[in-house]
Subunit: 517 residues, 2 copies
């Protein structure tokens, strides 16, 4: 059995005291143990602040971009071993593990290519300058400089590789050192990745530290230039955001939390059309990929009443093809959940939804599984529900069931009605709209845009190219308002703003325009 370690203050350190057990979700057996007992969290923050930060700030964007590309390559070189770990400790299917890992290396590489376009400078200009005085001699510019603090990254259990890499890529490119804390339950993959990066000497010392367990009193040692980025539950997000030290010091906090993402089928979409097939394919992928343990997974499926029965039949047919079981097997499409607690939460959540929606596919019973002990592993099969009365359901819009579970909500076909229902989610990461009708699409963007960080517009012309609504791409921002936490990550330069200070410069145009060039 493996004992995970922490990488802190330039050395690997095993946690002291009682360690936490990590399990193989397929068998329920313990596969590792970890802890952060004895780690001096203030020393961790100081090390990042005084060693990692200056080293990164000394580098230009081009140099940091090269760092990211090296990190991507180093991790990719160990892809097979990392996939094996993800299958064992994450319970991921090999395909799901690749989605996580290739997402990690792909995001690092994409940010590397983006960083290269900023070039051989340490200061980024923000838009154009502007005349401030009577003549253009007194001039204004805005620049972005790296915050002189530490990025603390607290990640979710579902994407141990991608979560670590996407947050680190952005912070590093901005010039800010990282203390990363994977979710303890699935920390093996993150620990292995950090080991690769440290062994390969890819990042400057102090730019990356790892806590393979509880963050202890880390938040008490955060200062005004630090940044906390969290992905996880709304309850934990609220706790972090309420932390007195963070509030007193104006520590920047970015949160990605619960999200009841919607898929909306336009009234123009005919059964059998390309857009119709894309819609069905995406919804089934979103329900079953990672066993539905994705913050971007579709939870609410809004379809015109007139066609709801047909949608339900088609989805049930497709879901019945999705085998649940041992994720190491090629034919298995739905993995176990990541932990016993998650399985129990999902079952309880389905019961809550069932109070106002009929289960039309699957159940909360122990499912039939391929090549595994269905009761020892953390299995829940896909469950599709259908709201009994769209006007009176609330749990469907408020309770995120973090598993292979979604609910069909029949609505009137017009954009305004659909938008009103979608907005009941009170802020989501993403909504997908399936339509080839430009008017409907435009009306939906205006109707639900303010409530989302991203809108995925599925249509016939893109059906053969998209990666699905759940894929979080480095070129598009990720995050949503309200219930989704109000955060914003990625989107190339946009995600870097969290780690930078925007500074207005006012002075002699001749000097300002030649600085840093």
């Amino acid at each position: 059995m493996r004992t995970l370690e922490n990488y802190v203050c330039g050395a690997w350190k095993r946690g002291e005291g009682t360690l936490r057990k990590l399990h193989n979700p397929t068998t329920g057996e313990q596969c590792a143990e970890t802890g952060t007992g004895g780690v001096d969290m203030k020393a961790v923050m100081d090390h990042a602040r005084h060693v990692g930060g200056p080293a990164l700030r000394e580098m230009t964007f081009s140099a940091r971009a090269a760092l990211l590309m090296n990190a991507s390559k180093a991790i990719h070189a160990h892809r097979e071993a990392l996939i094996d770990l993800a299958v064992e400790n994450g319970g991921n299917t090999r395909k799901d593990a690749k989605f996580d890992l290739d997402g990690a290396t792909g995001t690092l590489a994409a940010y590397a290519r983006f960083g290269e376009t900023i070039g051989d400078t340490r200061v980024q200009f923000d838009g154009g300058g502007v005349q401030l005085g009577r003549t253009s001699r007194f001039w204004g510019e805005h620049v972005f400089v790296p915050r002189e603090g530490v990025a603390v990254h607290i990640n979710a259990f579902n994407f141990p590789a991608w979560g670590l890499a996407e947050k680190a890529a952005v912070a590093w490119l901005a010039g800010v050192p990282v203390v990363t804390k994977p979710a303890t339950a699935t920390a093996t993959v993150a620990e292995a990745m950090v080991r690769i990066l440290i062994d390969d000497g890819v990042v400057p010392e102090g730019a990356l530290q790892l806590l393979s367990g509880s963050a202890g009193d880390l938040l008490d040692h955060m200062e005004s230039q630090d940044i906390l980025a969290f992905t996880g539950s709304a309850a934990t997000g609220f706790m972090l955001r309420s932390h007195e030290n963070l509030l007193r010091k104006s520590v920047r906090v970015n949160i990605e939390a619960d999200s009841l993402n919607s898929a909306v089928l336009g009234p123009d979409v005919q059964p059998g059309s390309e857009t119709w097939n894309l819609f069905l394919r995406d919804v089934v992928t979103e329900m079953t990929q990672k066993a539905g343990q994705k913050c971007t997974a579709v939870r609410r499926i809004f379809v015109p009443e007139a066609i709801a029965d047909t949608v339900q039949e088609e989805l049930c047919a497709r879901l019945s093809d999705m085998a649940v079981g041992n994720p190491a097997l090629r034919e298995v499409r739905v993995s176990p959940l990541a932990s016993a607690a998650q399985r129990d939460d999902v079952r309880a959540g389905v019961e809550r939804l069932a109070a106002e929606a009929d289960i039309v596919f699957g159940s909360t019973d122990t499912p039939e599984v391929v090549d595994a002990d269905a009761t020892a592993g953390y299995f829940v099969g896909p469950v599709l529900l259908r709201a009994r009365d769209a006007a009176s359901c609330s749990a469907v819009h408020e309770h995120e069931v973090f598993g292979p579970v979604a609910t069909i909500v029949p609505v009137a076909g017009d954009a305004a009605s659909a938008a009103a229902e979608v907005r009941k989610g009170d802020g989501s990461l993403v909504a997908s709209v399936y339509s080839d009708d430009r008017e409907f699409i435009g009306a939906m963007i205006l109707g639900i845009g303010a409530w989302h960080g991203r809108l995925y517009l599925g249509s016939a012309r893109v059906a053969d190219q998209t990666l699905g609504s759940g894929a979080v791409l480095p070129a598009s921002v990720h995050g949503g308002p309200g219930r989704a936490g109000g955060g914003e990550e990625l989107g190339f330069e946009r995600g870097m703003r969290l780690y930078q200070q925007r500074v207005a410069l006012q002075g002699d145009r001749g000097i300002l325009q030649r600085l840093f060039k």
Copy 2:
């Protein structure tokens, strides 16, 4: 005596119950009374949300720009009457009152001109698009849409006109209705401005409501799409930011709080040079304008040790020309403070500073005043201090004395030493750097940039054009990290982001690029 009213839910309403007294700072006499007792705060929020918001969102940027220009003109038309109110209730000199009022109308007009450049659309695109799929058919864009909530503006007592207008200009242009709450002590000017805007029919109903007193339980009625923007003390900012309802709902909160702004004199600047004179002129203006009651006022003056005596002599000589007294008189340059509480705070603050710095000009005693009763009014004369030992002073870097008070801190002449001292303020709104040495300027930007929202670079070539470091211009962002609250306002499009939702759009390039155009 005037009784101020609230403008809520489409009607003027006088507060019920006990009203709060407002005073004339020059005489200490009561000049008005006000309160919000009996105002239904939930109804106020609902009115903004359901009446004002939709009306503003229906307008294009061009139409909202026209609204701002009309608001600017309407207020400007009543300039003289508003100045009289500011002298009476604010205790402002006429020059200080004009600074506030012309700042208000100027910011509205500048945002109007800026809004006109966005044009006849409701959706703003954010940068360029990007290819997401194998071909450019699957395409990504980002747009900004108005948040479907209410902007609650809680303003400071020092700029009742400008504070109301600069926040409202940005929110309205973004398409978001405003509930504005001036500081109660100086609410007469804000109340008069809202009366002008309502009487003239400049803003659509519901786009502007006024609370001329306590906000009551308003925060309990804020929702996930709402925005709170606050300017005032760090203590109140912390209280607002800690409010459970705001934390739970991811309500966006923007705070401008305490700021120990620095002026840094470069080692290259020779006594008698243009840059030297600009430095002295700016520092004296910052200390005395609005009696130092400006969030951007200079509190810490860093000068090379070798020249500290000369700087001190020059500043003392100039300060001795600044008459304190009845602000209605042309020859008076330093007004009373806004309230008895402010006067007492400033006196206590100077005592605190005096524990580690020598008072080299003025005192906390009742000053000699022109044409006023020095003990009845809230007078404090300018006080200049000089730190005894830069290495061991702390209050100078931590305690904002909100009056005509600043401290000289002698430092070694190099940029690194000066930057290290400036950073002890733990985040400020603005620092001003006086130098004609490009290397020194560049080193200071990199050395203190991350700790500031704005750097004002005073040099010989701009000495005849600048408005001083304390002027907050609509083209430059205003706000600072850490102690300064972490907020960001103005800067044209930059300030609008607080009121908008950025949405990533993914779909058919052909559709995306023709939407909203």
